[in-house]
C-alpha cells in the first residue's frame, strides 16, 4: 500500500464499480442530502481511506521541551495517506469533492505502537457538469456538514480542501530546583507557557501552509485537538484542522435571519 495513487484494495474496485452504475451510498442525513441537492450537487458515494501506521520511537529528554519531529511526521503522513486514499476513491467516482469528512485514529491491542488512521466522507459531483476540482486538480474535501456546505455557498465562498497541521511536542518536566524555587508562589511558568504556545502555533502554521498551497483565501471552522495517545502525559499531539475556502463569487445570497418563537413543548 505504499503507492497511494493507484493501490486501493480489490474490494474497493468492486464497490466503486457498483457506485459508478448509478447507485449511491452516503452518510448524509436526509436534511443534508436535500440541502446538497439544493445547491446543485449530487452524492455519488461514501468514500474512505485508511492507513495503519507504525509510529516508531523517539527519545525525549526529561527536562527539555521540544518538538518530536519523527512522531510529528508519522502522525502527519499517516493522516495524509488516509486522506489521499479517500480522495482517490472519490476521483474513481468522478467526484468533484468530498463533504462531511471525518478523521479518526484507532488503536488495537494487536498492534503495538501502531495506529489506524481513517478518513471517511461522502463524495459529491456538480450537477451542472462544471469541474469543481481544486487548484491541485483533486476533489475538494471538507469536514462541513450538508447544512454548513449550503450556508457557505450562499456567502460566495467555496471549499478547497480539509487542511491540517500537526505537532507532537514533549513538555519538559520541572526539576527539583525549579519546583522548590517557586514553592507556594503564584507565578507563571514561562517554560510551560512557551512550549504549549509554540506547539499550537506550529500546528496552526502548518495548517495555514496547506491552505496557501490550495490558493485559499481563508480557513473556517478551525479546531485545535490535543491528545497524548499512548505516549504519556508530557507528550502531546496538537492537531489543527479546518476547511480552506476560496471566495469565488461576490454575491452573498444568504437570506436575512427571521426571529422565531418555537411552539414545540
Amino acid at each position: 500500500m505504499s503507492d497511494v495513487t493507484s493501490d486501493l484494495p480489490q474490494a474497493t474496485g468492486h464497490r466503486l464499480e457498483e457506485l459508478e452504475k448509478g447507485l449511491f451510498t452516503s452518510d448524509l442525513s436526509v436534511n443534508e442530502f436535500l440541502l446538497i441537492k439544493e445547491v446543485g450537487f449530487h452524492p455519488v458515494g461514501f468514500v474512505m481511506g485508511s492507513s495503519i501506521y507504525h509510529t516508531g520511537i523517539q527519545t525525549r529528554k526529561w527536562g527539555q521541551s521540544l518538538e518530536l519531529t519523527k512522531l510529528t511526521e508519522a502522525m502527519y503522513n499517516a493522516r495524509e495517506l488516509a486522506m489521499t486514499r479517500m480522495e482517490e476513491e472519490a476521483a474513481e467516482l468522478g467526484a468533484d469533492g468530498v463533504v462531511g469528512v471525518r478523521l479518526t485514529v484507532n488503536y488495537y491491542d494487536w498492534g503495538k505502537d501502531a495506529a489506524e488512521f481513517i478518513a471517511v466522507g461522502t463524495a459529491v459531483t456538480a450537477e451542472d457538469g462544471v469541474s469543481r476540482l481544486n487548484k491541485l486538480g483533486k476533489p475538494f474535501t471538507s469536514d462541513l456538514s450538508g447544512q454548513d456546505f449550503w450556508t457557505l455557498l450562499q456567502t460566495g465562498y467555496f471549499p478547497q480542501g480539509l487542511v491540517m497541521g500537526t505537532c507532537v511536542y514533549h513538555i519538559a518536566h520541572r526539576g527539583i530546583g525549579q519546583t522548590l524555587g517557586t514553592t507556594g508562589q503564584n507565578v507563571e511558568l514561562p517554560n510551560f507557557t512557551q512550549a504549549l504556545y509554540e506547539a499550537r502555533e506550529l500546528a496552526m502554521t502548518r495548517m495555514q501552509d496547506e491552505a496557501t498551497q490550495l490558493g485559499a483565501t481563508g480557513i473556517v471552522g478551525v479546531r485545535l485537538e490535543e491528545k497524548s495517545h499512548q505516549w504519556g502525559s508530557h507528550t502531546i499531539e496538537f492537531l489543527s484542522l479546518g476547511t480552506a475556502v476560496l471566495k469565488t463569487s461576490g454575491d452573498v445570497t444568504l437570506a436575512k435571519p427571521v426571529t422565531i418563537i418555537t411552539l414545540d413543548g
Partner: protein, 295 residues
C-alpha cells in the same frame, strides 16, 4: 514570558496570507452579514502555578485562620464544648485571595496575548472568544487557553485603540448590535472560599450525622449556604467593579466545589460575561414568527 512576547511561530503564522477562523460556518456567515471580516484565529496561553498560604492539613486544625491575606472570613463556634480531640469545636469560611490572584493573573495574561495577536493583524475586535482553564500534569499548575477570531470592520479606518472582544458570535452578536449595544471586552472574575466545617456542619453534611439529622429534622446548613452565597457575591462584586458605566450581557456563572477530606471543602464561583456599551437607542426587534417543527 512577558505579556508582549509572542512566540516566533505566532509571528510567522500571523504574517501569512490566508485568514483562519475558529467560527463555524453559520457564525462566519453572520459575521459577513454584519460587515465584519474574519482576519485570523488568535489565541493566548498562560501556564500558572497556583501558590498556597500554608493553611492546609495540620496547621489549620490547630488554630483558626487569622485572615492576614485579606478578604472574607467568618468563624463558627459550636456550643457543645470540648468533647474529644476529634470534635470540631470551631469552623471557618475564608476567602482564598491567593487562589483568586493566580487565576486572574493567568486569565489576564492569556487575554493580553490574544489581543496582542489580534493587534498584529490590525483587527478591530475579537469575536467568539472561548476560554478554558485546564490542569496540567502537575496538579498545582493551571493552563489558561484563550482563543477567538479576530475581525476587521469593513470600510472602517485602521484601529487606533486595542481591539474589543466578546464571547458572542453569529446571531447572538448580531442581536446585540440590533439592540443598540457594542461589545467592549470580555470580562471574568473568580472567587474561592475554603470551608473548614465545625461539628454541626460536619454532621449535617453526612459524615457522622445520621442520628443528629434524624433527631433535628430537615435543617439548613448555615456554614455551607454562607460560603456559596459569598462565593457568588464576591464574583459578582469583582465583575461590577470592572464594568464602570458599562453593562454586562450574556453572563454565565459557574460554581465548582471540591472536598479534600471530610469537612474540608472549597467552593469557587467563576463569572464570565460581555462588557457592552450603548451606542444608540434600542430598536424593537421584528415581531417573532411562530413556528412548529415537523421533525
Amino acid at each position: 514570558m512577558a505579556p508582549t512576547d509572542l512566540p516566533e511561530a505566532a509571528q510567522r503564522r500571523l504574517s501569512e496570507g490566508a485568514f483562519s477562523s475558529a467560527l463555524g460556518v453559520s457564525d462566519f456567515a453572520a459575521c459577513l452579514e454584519m460587515g465584519l471580516e474574519p482576519v485570523g484565529l488568535v489565541q493566548g496561553f498562560c501556564a500558572m502555578q497556583q501558590g498556597s498560604y500554608m493553611m492546609g492539613g495540620l496547621s489549620r486544625s490547630l488554630s483558626p485562620y487569622g485572615g492576614s491575606a485579606g478578604g472574607y472570613v467568618q468563624n463558627y463556634q459550636c456550643s457543645h464544648g470540648m468533647i474529644s480531640n476529634e470534635h470540631r469545636t470551631w469552623g471557618q469560611n475564608y476567602e482564598q485571595t491567593w487562589v483568586e490572584t493566580a487565576w486572574m493573573q493567568g486569565f489576564t495574561s492569556s487575554f493580553s496575548r490574544m489581543l496582542e495577536e489580534a493587534g498584529e493583524l490590525g483587527a478591530h475586535g475579537v469575536v467568539g472568544v472561548v476560554d478554558t482553564v485546564t490542569r496540567l500534569t502537575d496538579a498545582k499548575v493551571l493552563e489558561f487557553h484563550m482563543v477567538g477570531t479576530a475581525v476587521k470592520v469593513l470600510d472602517a479606518p485602521a484601529p487606533t485603540t486595542p481591539p474589543w472582544s466578546t464571547y458572542l458570535a453569529g446571531q447572538r452578536l448580531s442581536k446585540l448590535f440590533e439592540a443598540g449595544l457594542v461589545p467592549v471586552s470580555i470580562i471574568a472574575s473568580i472567587s474561592s472560599i475554603r470551608v473548614w466545617a465545625y461539628c454541626t456542619t460536619e454532621f449535617l453534611m453526612g459524615g457522622a450525622g445520621t442520628m443528629l439529622r434524624n433527631s433535628s429534622g430537615p435543617q439548613e446548613i448555615d456554614q455551607i449556604v454562607s460560603a456559596k452565597s459569598q462565593a457568588r457575591f464576591i464574583a459578582r462584586s469583582n465583575v461590577r467593579a470592572q464594568l464602570g458605566s458599562d453593562s454586562l450581557r450574556g453572563a454565565n456563572l459557574e460554581l465548582g466545589e471540591w472536598e479534600f477530606e471530610r469537612g474540608d471543602y472549597e467552593f469557587q464561583a467563576v463569572l464570565r460575561g460581555n462588557r457592552v456599551r450603548r451606542f444608540k437607542n434600542f430598536d424593537p426587534l421584528p415581531v417573532p414568527r411562530a413556528t412548529v417543527r415537523l421533525s
